[in-house]
């Protein structure tokens, strides 16, 4: 009499550590009942005849199956662990190459285990296929005699035949799970690669002298230079390239090119007629500079904060003519996963700045003279950089 047996398989099948419950229906006879899934998806067989049950349980195929399932469970645990670790690193701005390397090693080992498991699973499938081919004539109800006549191998075959539908379902399930894990591992590799592109990762690599190739950043600076007794707003864009460590100088350096604009407003006050209030006028001196420069990253306070020094040289391209600009830079930078933000202090000098000086003339038009002078002052600004 055929009996419908329902087994529940509880198999963790997701790389994201999510538990998915699957219900598998298998059909067998009344002599023995396989109960599945009670322990991580392994199969236990229960028979009315204890000897037969013992034989079933000791059947190599079943043992191997269970062994594979255990390995699969181990891999599931391992993958889940890796996912957790990756998540932590993804949210950790201080992740370094060293951390990623360890994760990569784990990934490689897991891939290796996956390959071995896959191979074992293929072998088992091959073995089952061969046995079932030999016992294609066996019929239901002759199991016991068959076991006695042809011994254990036949009994195994009978068992396999008896449970072939179950086996197919189960092996199909293992197939599926293994493929899922393979996909999960691939996904893991992609995410690790993405993690390596994070700003904080790159900055840590750069500061530890491990950068292997140039890395470019776009930066935007906003600040003010104190000139002509007032803060003159200055905005700049720049492209900075972090270079691999210069071994000879043991230096971590970058170079940059940028365009900056200073809206230079100068308040002038001059006397007019005696007794009249002085006249105040605001003179606009727009200066746009094309600059190049270099930064030397010198002090790493921690995995998120570092200080650099540098120099920049520029030439006016708009506004003031032929003004040579030079600057000595010092900045402290805080960097996170996606951006860098720096407080930059800079000694800003200009070789030639023209300004108008007005001298009131009571006997006619004022004398307006253009005075050319070198000027310098402090710049304070904030720089934000992105990859």
């Amino acid at each position: 009499m055929r009996q419908v047996l329902t087994g529940l398989l509880f198999i963790a099948c997701s790389a994201h550590a999510e538990i998915r419950v699957e219900k598998i229906t298998v059909t067998t006879n009344a002599i023995c009942s396989p109960a599945t899934g009670v322990n991580y998806g392994t199969i236990n067989v229960y028979c009315t005849d204890p000897d037969l049950e013992e034989k079933y349980r000791n059947l190599p195929g079943l043992t191997k199956y269970n062994l594979n399932m255990e390995k699969l469970e181990l891999m599931r645990t391992h993958v889940a662990s890796m996912v957790t670790e990756l998540r932590m690193k993804e949210s950790d701005s201080r992740v370094t190459q060293k951390n990623i390397s360890r994760l990569r090693d784990n990934l490689r080992q897991t891939e290796k285990a996956f390959s071995e498991l896959w191979r074992g699973h293929e072998e088992l499938r091959f073995q089952l296929a061969a046995v079932m081919a030999k016992l294609s004539d066996f019929t239901q109800g002759k199991i016991e005699s068959t076991v006695k006549v042809i011994g254990e191998s036949v009994a195994q075959a009978v068992y396999e035949q008896q449970f072939q539908k179950l086996s197919r379902s189960l092996y199909y399930d293992i197939d599926k799970k293994l493929k899922d894990y393979r996909d999960d591992l691939e996904n893991l590799k992609v995410r690790v690669d993405a993690l390596q592109n994070d700003v904080s990762f790159l900055m840590n690599e750069f500061l530890e002298g491990n950068l292997k190739e140039n890395v470019g950043f776009f930066g935007l600076s906003i600040g003010g230079t104190y000139l002509s007794s007032a803060w003159q707003p200055r905005i700049a864009i720049e492209f900075e390239i972090l270079m691999p460590k210069i071994r000879l100088l043991n230096a971590r350096a970058s170079w940059f090119a940028g365009l900056s604009h200073i809206n230079w407003k100068e308040k002038q006050s001059y006397q007019t007629l005696p007794g009249s209030s002085p006249i105040e006028v605001i003179e606009n001196n727009e200066v746009t500079l094309l600059s190049i420069g270099s930064r030397l990253y010198m002090f790493e306070w921690n995995d998120e904060l570092q200080t650099y020094m540098g120099a920049t040289f520029g030439l006016s391209v708009l506004g003031e003519e032929d003004t040579f600009n030079y600057g000595f830079i010092m900045g402290t930078e805080y960097f996170r996963k996606t951006s860098r933000i720096a407080l930059e202090l800079r000694w800003d000098g200009f070789s030639k700045i023209e300004r108008e000086e007005t001298t009131f003339n009571p006997l006619g038009s004022a004398t307006v003279t253009t005075v050319t002078e070198s000027l310098n002052g402090w710049y304070v600004g904030i720089k934000v950089a992105f990859r």
């Binding site: 007629l273 005696p274 007005t358 038009s365």
Partner: protein, 436 residues
């Protein structure tokens, strides 16, 4: 005797200081001394010695004539204050040759001290027939500065040759027969000098001379200036008055017997320019006498069409009206203001010299009012609201002095833009006369 001379010198230079408004330092104590460089040879009538001196400051020569004979004499001959006459061995005439400058420190009023050359000798000019009695001959020299010259029986200074770069500056040509004679084609700049009390002429211009006269005072001579032949002196014009003063000469101030036309606008005469006419008889203290064929332009009548300054808006002048003869010496002024907050009203005793964007002459500002004074109002100012200018510094003013009767004055109003940089509104140059 010396004291009396210094008194004369004092009067002479004081007149210059107060009357002719020289462009350089007035010569009072504390003003910069004449330059002393390595190109200077020193002469001192009192402490110098021609025999033992070497021309240095420490060992100066004593006489100018001796110094000029030496080949070692440098380009600048600086004479100390004192009297240079025959009593110390000076030989006349003293001829200042090409490339040399005769200079002295400005007269020291406090000490009644000056460098005085007194005497004369015969000089045979290349250009004028006959022998002339002359004290100093300027013969293509570079300059003569701060020197007082007297030749009681002759000509104080004879200019035989001079280019336009030559200068005769702040010197006194005093109590001679003739103060200054220029011949041939001499064309020096004659600036800030006084020609006073000469028995014949203060100045004689002979031949083709074309000197430039600026800020000189020619007064109390028998005749102030005599112009002959083709001489064509420049006394300034409407765009650049020479600011010379030719007054109180016995027969006449200005006698033109030559051929050239000339312009004397900007000259101060005994009478207002609108009070007299040119005559042909040099008698009775006439102002301008023309008995040659040349023409003299002496009146400046400003145009009402053009503005004093190029500006966006014209300021109408309501009182006094253009050319009006007013009775009051303390008149009020009214104009149609543009509303700008910086306004200037200025009145000159001579036509102002207006450059491209400013008035370049400050010598003859007689009265001014401006919005910074806090007096008057928009478009009007009473006489007492204004100030008189002391020197050329607009911050240095004094209470206003009433206008002189019988004199003409020029006046204008201008206003600046809000920045005080450009003239936004301007009137034309106007004039009025204070009635006798």
């Amino acid at each position: 005797m010396l004291k009396s001379w210094f008194t004369i010198v004092f009067i002479l230079f004081y007149s210059c200081i107060t009357g002719c408004g020289g462009r350089e330092g007035s010569g009072r104590a504390g003003h910069p001394a004449a330059p002393e460089t390595s190109d200077t040879t020193f002469v001192d009538a009192t402490t110098g010695n021609d025999a033992t001196g070497d021309g240095t400051r420490e060992k100066p020569y004593q006489t100018i004539s001796h110094t000029l004979l030496l080949t070692s004499t440098k380009s600048i001959i600086k004479i100390a204050h004192g009297i240079y006459d025959i009593s110390i061995g000076e030989q006349f005439p003293i001829v200042i040759p090409a490339g040399k400058s005769l200079t002295a420190d400005p007269i020291d009023l406090d000490a009644d001290s000056a460098a005085l050359i007194r005497g004369s000798g015969e000089f045979d000019s290349e250009y004028v027939n006959g022998v002339n009695t002359v004290a100093v001959v300027f013969d293509d020299a570079d300059s003569l500065k701060n020197v007082v010259i007297e030749a009681t029986d002759g000509i104080a200074l004879w200019v035989e040759r001079a280019t336009i770069n030559s200068e005769i500056v702040k010197s006194g040509l005093y109590a001679s027969q003739v103060g200054l004679t220029l011949v041939n084609d001499a064309s020096p700049q004659i600036i800030g000098n006084v020609m006073q009390k000469n028995q014949l002429n203060g100045i004689e211009l002979i031949g083709n001379v074309s000197p430039i006269f600026l800020n000189n005072s020619i007064k109390e001579n028998n005749i102030g200036i005599v112009i002959t032949d083709s001489a064509s002196p420049k006394f300034g014009n409407s765009s650049g008055g020479g600011n010379n003063s030719i007054t109180n000469n016995t027969l006449c101030d200005f006698r033109h017997t030559g051929k050239s036309d000339m312009n004397t606008v900007g000259t101060l005469w005994d009478q207002d320019i609108f009070e007299f006419t040119i005559t042909n008889s040099c008698t009775g203290g006439a102002n301008i006498v023309v008995d040659g064929i040349g023409f003299v332009d002496y009146q400046f009548i400003p145009s009402t069409n053009s503005l004093l300054f190029q500006s966006q808006q014209r300021i109408r002048m309501d009182q006094p009206l253009y050319g009006e003869v007013i009775l009051s010496q303390v008149p009020s002024f009214e104009w149609a203001s543009s509303g700008a907050h910086l306004t200037m009203v200025m009145i000159w005793s001579q036509p102002p010299v207006v450059g491209l964007s400013e008035i370049t002459s400050t010598e003859n500002i007689y009265w001014l009012w401006h919005s910074g004074l806090g007096t008057g109002g928009t478009g009007y100012a009473q006489f007492d609201d204004g100030r008189s200018l002391q020197g050329d510094d607009i911050t240095n003013t004094s209470p206003p002095q009433p206008f002189e009767k019988g004199r003409s004055y020029y006046w204008a109003v201008w206003e600046w833009d809000a920045d005080g940089k450009e003239i936004y509104a301007s009137s034309s140059l106007n004039y009025f006369r204070v009635s006798n």
